[in-house]
Symmetry: C2
Subunit: 137 residues, 2 copies
DNA sequence: CTTGACCCTATAGCTTACTTTAGGGTTTAT
DNA sequence: ATAAACCCTAAAGTAAGCTATAGGGTCAAG
């Protein structure tokens, strides 16, 4: 069983992120290299790679780095936690995202209303219904 | 015609923002007091109040301070601009918001999928489908 | 033996919209 | 006369997630 040792640039390329990003994640405690070479270079193994992919996947579904820290703890000590614990985190996050969507939808509707009311023509904007709305709302 | 002169604290209270926020907006060139009292206090009149409300209304429909700067220019020099100019800004903003909503909706759907797949029970998280997804996606 | 492509650390900068802090005058009421 | 409640400026701090810069080792190729 031969452990592959990747330098940071190789890991970065495979993961599709910059080396600075990996070092940044390390500074935030999200990931750290399995070891260091004699000259001080970071060396990563497959477990590290999997962990980085986990981080990026979690990010892609909307988790913040802080939340990913929690998820990583659950992942590493999965035997000490339940599915309920994990599901709770996704549930909370879903609610947050649903709220953001609701907010943005409300804003979008407001703008749509303004947009529909405005003639949008080459007339002077002195009586523009959008500006008036923003004045008097 | 008597001009009311409000000190910053009074304007802030009426508008429902902090005095620091008003000074911050001033530093960004969004608003400035009609004058100053002998002792250097900022004094605001009704026009300033209207301008501040305009700013807050524009913010509430999703415009950034930078964009509000543009809207204020249109508002102040409405006679030099057309409804088309104004409508263009809201149109662009609507597209941006629609895109954000689409992104968040996609993320929400992903989470929903994870959420549905997870038993959420008191079982050990060692085989939790959510963690597995985040590993293997 | 030097050039280029890597690697290292530490620190600063970016974006947005504020908030906080530090240090000091002013006004109002008691 | 003093304390509370305002006002002022200037600068630093906050959140999130990086990106960039400075200054300096390491390594393989030609």
């Amino acid at each position: 069983m031969k452990t592959e040792n990747l330098k940071i640039g190789q890991l970065a390329e495979r993961a599709g992120v910059s080396v600075e990003t990996i070092r940044f994640y390390e500074s935030k405690g999200l990931i750290s290299p399995a070891g260091r070479s004699a000259n001080g270079y970071r060396l990563y193994n497959e477990l590290d790679g999997a962990r980085l992919r986990f981080i990026l996947n979690a990010k892609s579904v909307g988790f913040t780095l802080k939340e990913i820290t929690d998820l990583l703890a659950l992942r590493v000590h999965a035997d000490h936690h339940t599915c309920e614990d994990v599901k709770q985190l996704t549930h909370t996050k879903m609610h947050e995202i649903a709220e953001k969507i609701a907010q943005l939808t409300a804003i979008h509707n407001s703008l749509q209303g303004l947009h529909n009311a405005c003639c949008g023509g080459p007339e002077s904007a002195e009586n523009c219904s959008i500006l008036e709305y923003l004045d008097n709302k």
